[in-house]
Subunit: 233 residues, 2 copies
DNA sequence: CAGTGGTCTAGACCACAAG
DNA sequence: TTGTGGTCTAGACCACTGG
């Protein structure tokens, strides 16, 4: 346990946490204003501000101008998932990473894709089917399409030596995305690829990545049985 | 798209992002120091600091004293999962929430639990088995134990009217935890409870919550088929 | 050692929203 | 209208760590 001075922002943060845990300040309660607290703690208001903002980010406090700062009624548990590049993930689980690019072809978006992602019918997409391995054993199976209208350069890349995943991460440094996590039963082809029984429960990630209004890529990733994604809060 | 002035920290943040996306600053590159940037932007160093710290938190920049600030080589994708109380989750999915407390009993930790969670063999735990429902249909099945040495007050609570989950959230406002997400095949009893086929792929969450060195509670939660946990980055 | 980020201060002005 | 948080400034000192 690290101890902080009470006129450091971390110290103020722990003190606030202590008061909440002690139930001096209960859920829904209004806590003193920044000015009052800075007087209590004998520090600058900016220091209190830093501490309270941090706690508000964490979902512990609710702050509104003029209305003041309250202890959150529904302390949302926020878990920050670090989603590593698959290669790192496989390596971290003690394996040597490799992958097979099973197939790659260009196509134009189906009506379904056009609607779902607001894609122009005339653009080209690349479809990629990849089996990721750790120590040569199947680790995850990936189905992906990439929007060539956004990243045409990828046609120049050798996607058998670097995975599309990594290429994209390094060439589109910042982007919005949506993740969906679910569980699906292995289909027969998936079972063959992942060397598991048909119907086995597979941890599944769906991801769409956007650059402004245009989708860059969408992925469906099914992990071999036993995979677990861990997060520390 | 919101536009910020370049001497606000948000403005500086977007400008830095722009330079990274333009590849003026490439992954691994050292970017100018805070002092240099504050001169370039005509603002105080603290403002630049705020912007760069934000980007470092997001995993876009790597910062080290004396070594300076670099564009991250492995831009970690961080997804912030908001993990709501089950009731809210069920309600957000358009249902009326209810639950059945199937069983509740006190016991002392098995050798296995003692080892895994460093539990004293003499303390008492409560085991709870709960079926959560949305619109009366099974939503998730929960197995949980709670450490009475840490929260003895819970024996006073009526856990048939408020779920243990919510009681704990409101009485242990801040705590560390670990989440694990995986997929499991429905066992026969789970299939009965969740009204699905045996073997169906179920999204599963394991959670352990700690208060200092002592575990407060551990939960295994299996969701009815079709559940998907969504996160926006 | 010296240069970088990390933090604190005292003061100021602004933006928002409750009354 | 007015009290609250949100932000910026100019300056200062500190903590870490690379050279």
């Amino acid at each position: 346990m690290t101890i902080y001075d009470t006129n450091s922002w971390q110290g103020i943060k722990s003190e606030v946490i202590r008061r909440i845990n002690d139930r001096q300040w209960q859920p829904g309660d209004l806590i003193p204003s920044e000015v009052e607290l800075s007087e209590q703690f004998g520090c600058a208001r900016a220091t209190v501000n830093r501490a309270l903002q941090d706690l508000a980010d964490a979902g512990v406090l609710d702050r509104r101008r003029k209305a003041g700062t309250r202890v959150a009624l529904n302390p949302v548990r926020k878990a920050t998932l670090e989603i590593p590049v698959i290669r790192k993930d496989a390596e971290a689980r003690g394996g040597t990473y490799s992958f097979d690019l099973l197939s790659q072809q260009e196509f134009t978006p189906s009506a379904n894709l056009q609607n779902k992602y607001r894609l122009d019918p005339n653009i080209s997409l690349v479809g990629l089917y990849t089996l990721h391995r750790a120590n040569l054993k199947p680790f995850a199976y990936e189905e992906r399409w990439i929007n060539l209208a956004v990243v045409p350069e990828i046609t120049q890349a050798d996607l058998t030596s670097i995975s599309a995943n990594e290429w994209l991460v390094n060439h589109t440094p910042l982007s919005r995305g949506e993740f969906g996590f679910s569980a699906t039963n292995a289909t027969k082809p998936e079972a063959l690829l992942l060397q598991c029984d048909e119907g086995a429960a597979l941890f599944t990630v769906n991801r769409v990545t956007w650059s402004g209004e245009a989708p860059i890529t969408a992925v469906r990733l099914v992990y071999a049985p036993g995979y677990s994604m861990v997060s520390i809060v």
